[in-house]
Symmetry: C2
Subunit: 650 residues, 2 copies
């Protein structure tokens, strides 16, 4: 029945799987958004299982930087050989394929697919496309997207690419730029007829297509090792009087005519649509990293036994400790909360895309703000969660055998790229502030116009707490937070200049933005459960209850303010947290099984499906280069001579 | 005047240093605990500057595991050659020397000095010492301390070293065990005359002293790469019917007589004293890691300019953003709070050591609990802080050039080793619960017996908030939290077994323990400032104000409960936070200068004293092995053949 139970598994983990209150496959289908998505995944997994060329030769943590690069390029060559899985008409499958071949640490060329091609597609004129796209798809053009500079990330309008020599003006960071690309889309400030028209994308060849050498007047190189992504050659690029033809500017929207006249794009806001899409993907993707960590911590906590609760009764599974559950389960619930939010954002994006094509921009600001806020909140929480999962694995969480260090390192970049989280939260806040003055608010900001109630309902048990009341309470807190920031901003503006007032209120503004996003996540979590099949509802309810009540307990100050809720009610919600955790306890392994993460992706001895962790650790350690000889060469080189000398003196 | 200002520095950072409101050297002396400590540091730094053999040949992030090991052993050989800095009568200088030679990633043999020698010293009988100590000091015996097993960490009583073959029973983790030690102190359950007497330490030779080969019946090896410490050979050890003489048990306190009779140690609690000392060292040490991260983030934030606050006014230093200040400054204040707490703990330890020698154990439980709690709270907060500092550096924080990834990786182990944080907090809670029933409470728990007041003072401005009132308010919250846990535990115990009740209350119990520790930190911070020279008081006051008010604002729920404080008062404390931050802003660079962290330790391009970050990044990247050739060999190996093939088809 349960396909995760197999012979030879650790009995401790089998015992857990037998306790599941629901059908694991049903939850998997619901979680992944339907049968089609699931089938895509299975096809990709089977394909990679059948092609050794697409797999790592040994665990990546044992590889040096050189070996990581070699491993990454070898797999890319393998992909080029069997490229039937790259299908731009099946983005879901293609994305999963790329991810599962280049799991985390070896992502060379992801920018070719994820940035270079999409930007080319959307920004190049039809003529340009017909020239460049075929070569870019076939593989003779290998591209990247070079926007970030050594001295500039967030503030695009100050990009310095026109200067001649000044180290600060070099491009710095773009993936694959250092060594392996021969083209790049360069974002630079466009000067024409003596006027700066702001940042625009340019299609630039950077290496010789025959010899692969850097072109004259271009300096290219690797920026050195990073926290993660060391299978990729994130690089630098310095132009020194390098010239490109006018036609290399991507000219679908903005144009420069032969006489130098600049033609503006029809609507500058259209670009926001693409950003919404990228961020919705990011939110789902980053939730998946948390799912990996939660899977590892949960499975391991069922095979690790430590401590006797009752003297003489034998050591217990560490998942039976309330403190261990409280480390892992709130983040298990967040996987669902974030995943569902990302999925819903994608749905909304699809809807508004249709409207955008008809020139309607009414909902775009709402959704753009939401996507920015979600990205900021989710990426940060995921880092916190992965670290808690690491800690939940005790000492072994510090070993690369757990897989968690690699997960943590890879995913923490997401707090910075695609928009620094604080900058994004301030964008959300700006949007919220404009909605405070705007009296005809609708859509996601409608709650801002509603009247404050002075207190929550008279709930005495958490079972009485209705979805409607939950949403009202979160609306209350979000509204209070937004209006407090608004009032503070108005007051501060009376004593200093506007920009200074904004700066002095910015921590408060970020806080308001976070509540706006949390409200959305809570509302959407409850709405998603409503459409699940009945069999899944109890477990999803327990997860939602844990997520929501824990959010309230952890932020009780905001709910207690001015007596809106009473401390006894918070204490009651706390009981709800414990109750939800004890429900989840028995389903825990099956819940993480339902994430259906392939072992190629999990890359964890502690999290392996079969629970055979301890023999697995021995097998894993055999890969260590230090274990090639009993006596390590460094002993003979450094220590033996000294010891001999000391002994001779004795 | 300010010795940190030099010619050729980035003018943006010099400008900051000129703003300092205090003498940097005076703060350095105060922070490091006096002139003598500072002199020790300067001697060590000068010594290592003069001895290239003790320095890294290139930045460690560029090294593979093999190179890290080689680098580490080379420096150890260098130390053995110039061992005049190892002086067991000057522990401060010796410790700093070891730390500065083996900065973070390459700590091979630290266990020889930090665990093997101290345990031998304290646990071996005089006869044993005279036999083993000279060789251990001279370097022919290289030892480690092997306690942790693959399947057991925290729960010592269940160590499984007597079994024959079962992978779980192997020792797993001890530093230097895998390859380079020839001896180990093995902690194992002692069986004699058919009775298990619990875990005891044994002195065991594990490798041949001539050939360095593993002894028969012992399997030794490296456990593989870890998040950090990859210059060390953390290892495994499996015994298979290995025999040692009776006299190899360390027998200063417990003994086994020739007829097998077991002799108990005179007082089992004596060992606690040593743990208090180790933890006080850890707290100071880990606060120092945070000081490194704060130094990097602060200096970088003064040379990085991004975004115009006011259009046309030019880009501003990112430290001028309130959000950036709020990322860094609260952790700057925590460096002081934690450092002072660790220092004070060491003082208390010295006092009670005298009492212990006279057989008095009255204060030991208080201090042991405090040291456990401090270790748990500080190590966790430091991880949070280092990550915030990393984020504050934007994209470059993700590069090893920042130095922060290495700092983060190294220090996060401290949440687990020397006692898992949750286990430690529960020990504190146990101590607190016993003090709730004990009516004659004194010392650090006296506040538990005091009467609750129903509300705080009527403060209307934060300037009115007296130290006395602050302490009363923290006492109130700590007491409420402890008593709530106590009541819950009593109530729960009526419905289930005692151990189950304890488990069900454990999250609440941890929370109570945290408040107990915070109260100590706050009280000690205020007391430490009181003895500072007048010149330093304003800056230290601002730091304490930030630390304390932010703690209250972030945990406002606990202060608002039942109307103890009003929301207007919390809002006023928030104003106090912003005010403290704006005071600290102008002193920020000088405050971190005062930590006086040597560049050998900082290992950061972003945090360099001179602020010349961008040219520094280019210099740093030159070390990359990928930059040896313009065209990387992997291109010719994998990509060129494919591109040629595609092109031939076109």
């Amino acid at each position: 029945m349960n396909s995760y139970i197999k012979e030879g598994d650790n009995p401790d983990i089998t015992e857990e799987r037998k306790k599941a209150s629901f059908n694991v496959d049903a939850l998997t289908t619901f979680y992944h958004g339907g049968d089609k998505q699931l089938q895509n995944r299975r096809e990709v997994e089977k394909y990679i299982e059948d092609h050794k060329e697409l797999q790592d030769t040994r665990p990546t943590p044992f590889m040096s930087r050189d070996e990581l690069i070699d491993n990454s390029l070898r797999k890319i060559a393998g992909m080029a050989k069997f490229n039937e899985m790259i299908d731009m008409n099946n983005i879901d499958r293609t994305t999963y394929f790329l991810q599962l071949v280049h799991v985390r640490d070896s992502m060379a060329f992801s920018l070719h697919y994820l940035m270079f091609l999409p930007v080319l597609n959307s920004q190049a004129s039809p003529d340009q496309l017909s020239e460049w796209l075929p070569k870019s798809l076939s593989g003779t053009i290998i591209g990247t997207y070079a926007q970030t500079e050594m001295g500039h990330g967030t503030n695009l309008s100050k990009l310095e690419t026109t200067a001649t020599y000044d180290p600060k003006t070099s491009k710095w960071w773009p993936g694959s730029l250092g060594k392996f690309c021969n083209h790049a889309i360069i974002v630079a400030n466009l000067w024409t007829n003596g006027v700066c028209e702001g940042p625009h994308p340019f299609f630039v060849q950077i290496r010789n297509l025959e010899t692969h050498e850097s072109l004259p007047n271009i300096k290219l190189g690797d920026i050195g090792p990073k926290l993660s992504l060391n299978g990729s050659d994130n690089g630098y690029l310095v132009f020194d009087h390098f010239r490109i033809p006018r036609n290399n500017m991507l000219m679908r929207y903005s144009k420069v005519l032969p006489d130098g006249t600049y033609v503006k794009p029809p609507n500058a806001k259209l670009a926001y649509g693409g950003m919404v899409f990228v961020r919705s993907m990011m939110v789902k993707d980053i939730a998946n990293h948390l799912a990996n960590a939660v899977t590892i911590a949960t499975r391991y906590s069922c095979v690790r036994r430590q401590g006797e609760m009752k003297i003489g009764a034998g050591e217990v599974k560490i998942l039976d400790y309330q403190t261990q559950q409280y480390r892992i389960f709130p983040f298990m619930s967040k996987v669902f909360a974030f995943r569902f939010a990302g999925q819903q954002l994608q749905e909304i994006y699809k809807e508004i895309s249709k409207e955008l094509k008809m020139g309607k921009l009414s909902q775009l600001a709402d959704i753009h703000a939401l996507s920015s806020g979600l990205k900021a909140l989710v990426t940060f929480e995921v880092q916190q969660g992965i670290e808690q999962c690491r800690l939940a694995c005790g000492g072994h969480g510090f070993s690369h055998a757990s897989g968690i260090p690699e997960l943590a390192a890879f995913s923490c970049g997401s707090c910075t790229y695609e928009g620094d989280n604080i900058v994004l939260l301030l964008q959300v806040a700006k949007f919220l502030m404009s909605n405070c003055t705007n009296s005809v608010s609708s859509g996601v900001c409608a709650y801002l116009q509603e009247k404050n109630s002075s207190k929550s309902s008279d709930l005495t048990t958490h079972q009485q707490y209705s979805d409607k009341q939950i949403i009202q309470d979160f609306e209350h807190v979000a509204r209070k937070s937004v209006l407090r920031a608004f009032d503070k901003l108005r007051l501060t503006s009376q004593t200093c200049q506007k920009h200074e007032a904004w700066n002095r209120c910015s921590v408060e503004l970020c806080k308001a933005a976070r509540w706006h996003v949390r409200l959305y996540i809570v509302r959407n979590f409850l709405a998603t459960i409503a459409i699940a099949q009945d069999e899944l509802k109890p477990v999803l309810r327990a997860l939602a209850q844990l997520f929501i009540f824990d959010l309230q307990v952890s932020n009780k100050g905001d709910f207690l303010e001015n007596g809106y809720m009473k401390i006894q009610q918070i204490e009651e919600l706390k009981e709800g947290v414990w109750q939800a955790m004890s429900t989840i306890r028995n389903d825990a392994v099956s819940i993480v099984d339902a994430f259906a993460i392939h072992e190629f992706e999990l890359k964890s001895v502690l999290g392996r499906r079969d629970g055979n962790v301890y023999p697995g650790l021995f097998e894993w350690a055999k890969h260590s280069q230090l274990n090639k000889n009993d006596v390590h060469p460094a002993f003979d080189k450094y220590l033996a001579p000294i010891i001999t000398k000391i002994r001779s003196r004795m």
